[in-house]
Amino acid sequence: MSEQSTVTTSAWRTIVARDLKLIWRQRTDVVNPLVFYLITITLLPLGVDPSRQFLGSIAPGMLWIMALLATLLSLDTLFRSDYEDGSLIQFQLSAEPLFLTVLGKVTAYWLTTGLPLSLISPVLASMLALPDGGYIALMLSLLLGTAIMSLIGALGAALTVCLRAGGLVLTLIVMPLYLPVLIIGANCVGSAVAGFSFLRELALLGAGLAIALIVMPAAIAGALKISANQ
C-alpha cells in the first residue's frame, strides 16, 4: 500500500514540477493574465467615474469579473502543447490513472494563474477604493473561486483540445459553469463590504471546490481520452 501511494504522489508531483518549470522558463506567456487583470482594473477608474463612492460600489463585482476573464485568457493553451507533441499519450499510458496527472496539470495552472491573481487582488482593490471590510473576503473568495474555475476550465480545454480554433467553443462551454462561481464570489465580497458575515458564501465556494475536486479530474480525464484520438 505504502509503495502504491509513493508512486501515486510521484505522478502528480512530476507533472506539477514539470509544468512549473516549463511555465517559469516561458514566463512571458504566463504574466499575460496578470497584466490583463492589472490593466483593466487600472483603466476602469479612468474610463468611468473616478469617485471613491461609485468605484467602491462596483469594485466587488468588477474585481471578480476581471479575475474570471483573466483566467479564461490562458485556458486555451492548457493541454494544447501536450496534445500536439504526444505527451498526452504518455499521460494516458503512465503507471498511474490519468486523473492524477490531470490534477497535476490543473494544480500547476492554478498556482501560476489563480494564486497570483488572488495575491495581487488587494492591491487592485485599493485602486478601486474597495471599502475596508472587503479585502480578506476578496482574497479568500478568489483563492477558492479561481481553483474551481481552473478545474471547470480544464474540462473545457480538454473537450476542445483537438479543435483548431477551440477558443470560442471553450468560452461557450465554460461560461455558464462559471456563472454560479461569479455570483457567489462577488456576493461574498459584497456581504463583507456591507458589514455582514461572509462565511456563508465562503462555505458555499468551499463546498463547490470540494465537489469540483472530486468530479472534475475524472471528467477531464474522460474528455482527454476522447479528444486525444481525434
Binding site: V7, S10, A11, T14, I15, A17, R18, K21, L22, R25, Q26, S81, E84, D85, G86, S87, I89, Q90, F91, Q92, L93, S94, A95, E96, T101, K225, A228, N229
Partner: protein, 222 residues
C-alpha cells in the same frame, strides 16, 4: 504475488480485429499472434491504418470489433497491460523549454521509474547525446529530439514496445543502433511492434501487411 512466481510468456494476440476511422473501415478481420522475441513490422500504404492499429494495440482507443490479448488476457481496462507497455508515437514528447535530462526524467517518472544519474548518462550515451545533457531541447535538431524520446527505450523495462515510425529523422548510424537495440530486446523475450517504411535487417523480423486485410467494397463504410 503469484504473477511474479510464474510469469506467463509474453504473447500478444490479435483476433478478428476491425478498426474504423470516421465511419471508414480501415482493415477488418485482422488475425495475428506475436510470440516472445518477435519484432513485428507493420506495413501498409499511407492511410492504411498503421497508426490506428498501434493506438488500438496500446489501448488508446477501443477497436470497432475484435479482441486483443496480452498473455492470454484481454487488454481492455487492463492496468497491468499498460504497465508492461512502452509506446512512442510519431511525435516526440519532448518539451523545448526543458533540458534533455529533464525531459527524460519526467517521462520516466510518469511511468513510475526514477532513473539514477548513471542510468541517465548511459542512456544518453547510447543515443549520442551525452554532451547535450543540460542543453535545452529547443536548441536541438529534429533528429536529436527524436533521440531524446528514443533514450526512453534504454531505460524502459517494459516487455512490449510499440513504436510508431521510430526511424524518422534518425541518421544511418542511429538506425543501426536502434536495430541492435530491438534485437537485444527480442533476445530477452520482449516483443516490439513498429511501423516503418524502411527495410529492416533483423533476425526475428515478422511483417504484417495491412493491405491484405482491406475490407470489401460492400462493407467499407459502417
Amino acid at each position: 504475488m503469484s504473477q511474479w512466481e510464474e510469469p506467463a510468456p509474453n504473447e500478444l494476440s490479435i483476433s478478428n480485429l476491425t478498426c474504423t476511422r470516421e465511419d471508414r473501415v480501415l482493415f477488418t478481420q485482422l488475425e495475428y499472434t506475436c510470440c516472445a522475441g518477435a519484432v513485428l513490422q507493420v506495413l501498409g500504404f499511407n492511410g492504411a491504418g498503421k497508426t490506428t492499429l498501434l493506438h488500438t494495440l496500446a489501448g488508446l482507443m477501443p477497436p470497432a470489433s475484435g479482441v486483443i490479448r496480452w498473455r492470454g488476457e484481454s487488454i481492455a481496462g487492463n492496468r497491468s497491460y499498460t504497465r508492461s507497455l512502452f509506446y512512442l508515437g510519431h511525435q516526440a514528447p519532448v518539451k523545448p523549454a526543458l533540458t534533455v535530462a529533464e525531459n527524460i526524467q519526467w517521462l520516466a517518472r510518469l511511468r513510475g521509474q526514477s532513473p539514477s544519474a548513471e542510468e541517465l548518462c548511459s542512456a544518453l550515451e547510447q543515443v549520442d547525446l551525452e554532451a547535450y545533457q543540460n542543453t535545452s531541447c529547443g536548441h536541438l535538431s529534429a533528429g536529436q529530439k527524436r533521440r531524446v524520446a528514443l533514450a526512453q527505450l534504454y531505460l524502459s523495462a517494459a516487455p512490449l514496445w510499440i513504436l510508431d515510425e521510430p526511424f524518422t529523422a534518425i541518421d544511418k548510424e542511429g538506425v543501426g543502433r536502434l536495430q541492435q537495440l530491438l534485437a537485444t530486446h527480442a533476445s530477452h523475450g520482449g516483443i516490439s511492434v513498429l511501423t516503418s517504411h524502411q527495410p529492416l535487417r533483423l533476425e526475428n523480423l515478422h511483417t504484417l501487411d495491412l493491405a491484405a486485410f482491406q475490407p470489401d467494397e460492400a462493407c467499407a463504410y459502417v
